[in-house]
Symmetry: C2
Subunit: 240 residues, 2 copies
DNA sequence: CTGAGTACGTGATCTTCGTCACAGGGCGCT
DNA sequence: AGCGCCCTGTGACGAAGATCACGTACTCAG
């Protein structure tokens, strides 16, 4: 098979090596085979738009490789990034299940491999494979959970500094660097994008970083970021 | 059966008159009977707490009568009301499905009748009744949708006036008063609670109402509120 | 009737951030 | 090298709204 956009294509869900720890891929063989027959394996370059908020749901997108930016945007162009989706996640699930419009916009930020399933096929698949249906319920619960956290952080953590601290801690915990004394992480996003993740302006993010550096809490080496004082950061994340 | 707290108890899901338009109650008879056998019909007075955020999930609560306030709160006591749940809604669903802690707190604001189902029983029920499982997925999608709207409103509609206008329009559309020239609605919440719904302070809500009255957009007669200028309110809801 | 408790109304300040404006810095491209 | 583009850094300013502090009005119990 071709390898467009520099991707090594994963051929089949049955032999995919990522299977084990992924919620949706971890299904009995019979269900996986059925899934295999209705999915379309597709590849996208960086910057491609999978779907836009407000569109009628065409189906689901199972992300196999690469990262996807999930965002909502206001009429005045202001954007809020909800999440950067990682491989194993199912995108467009809730809209596809409920039949309502996609509630957010999905745009690739890496070259991505995606399995697309048309809405009708997917709904039929769910009715025929009740264990898949249960998995979907689990996935949706998970998404709901994340959304609730987002709501909490937007609605209650009033200061921007608090939200940034939370974001940094969350990132460091994902990288498995959390337990280290001085976790380090790659800053893969621009200040602008970080601002859009915590609902503030680019300048504020810049100033906050400057402040954290001055207070010896952070340190940067090129695009890697070192958390020098976890405790201080954590207290910022809860106090404001 | 007793009628505590001034409630007329609905005896059975099979004969419940609200069934038709409720997502979760609308199941084939066999599934309903199974549900009937695992549910506990309970009644709560006003002000009772069904569950608290952070608790391990005990099970689901199907709201049959009365209203329930769903909120999250910060360590400093600040509270954000996400939603006032109405009869027919299933509360604690996502936590029960995923096994994670309840993500919010549910407190009755009327005398309520509730059907409780223990987590284990409910999960077994879902595995055995795939159509119920599909309904659950639909419900969760719906909840996710609402959460996304909340995120949008908190993260993007920056001014408090905008959020209040949106809230009032939403309320008037629920009462079926929306199509009228001058929709009227009962203010069932205090300014404090409204503030908690839109993430602002009590004083700001008071001031906003005063302003809307001065500009002839609203008018109050006791606790009923009349929207005198829908167009103006709508433009506030989109412009800020 | 009276006092307590609770909700509402309103002014005076004080913070936080958003916005505008501009200056430097890194980097690829021709 | 020289140019343009995008990201970052920083100052000045203003607006929105949180907070404080108080006064008023209504309700309810004794």
């Amino acid at each position: 098979m071709l390898s467009p956009y520099g991707l090594d294509i994963i051929e089949s869900c049955l032999t995919c090596k990522m299977r084990v720890d992924r919620i949706f891929c971890d299904l009995p063989t019979s269900a996986l085979q059925a899934f295999e027959s209705i999915k379309y394996a597709t590849a996208y370059p960086k910057g491609a738009v999978l779907f836009v908020e407000g569109q009628a749901p065409r189906g689901i997108f199972v992300l196999c490789k690469g990262r996807v930016k999930l965002s909502i945007c206001a009429s005045d162009g202001k954007t809020l990034i909800l999440k950067i989706a990682e491989p194993g996640e199912v995108l467009g699930l809730s809209a596809t299940v409920s039949g309502k419009a996609y509630e957010l916009t999905a745009e690739t930020i890496d070259p991505c491999q995606v399995n697309f399933v048309k809405r009708d096929d997917f709904l039929r698949f769910l009715k025929e494979h009740s264990d898949a249906c249960f998995k979907v319920a689990e996935q949706l619960s998970e998404k709901y959970n994340v959304a609730c956290h987002e709501v909490r952080s937007l609605g209650l953590s009033h200061s921007a500094g608090e939200k940034l601290a939370k974001l940094l801690l969350e990132w460091s915990s994902k990288n498995g660097e959390a337990q280290k004394q001085e976790p380090r992480l790659k800053l893969a996003l621009t200040h602008e994008e970080i601002a859009q993740m915590i609902g503030t302006s680019r300048e504020t993010v810049t100033r906050l970083f400057a402040d954290l550096k001055k207070r010896q809490i952070l340190q940067t080496k090129g695009s890697t970021l070192v958390i020098r004082n976890k405790a201080a950061l954590r207290s910022l994340a809860t106090t404001g």
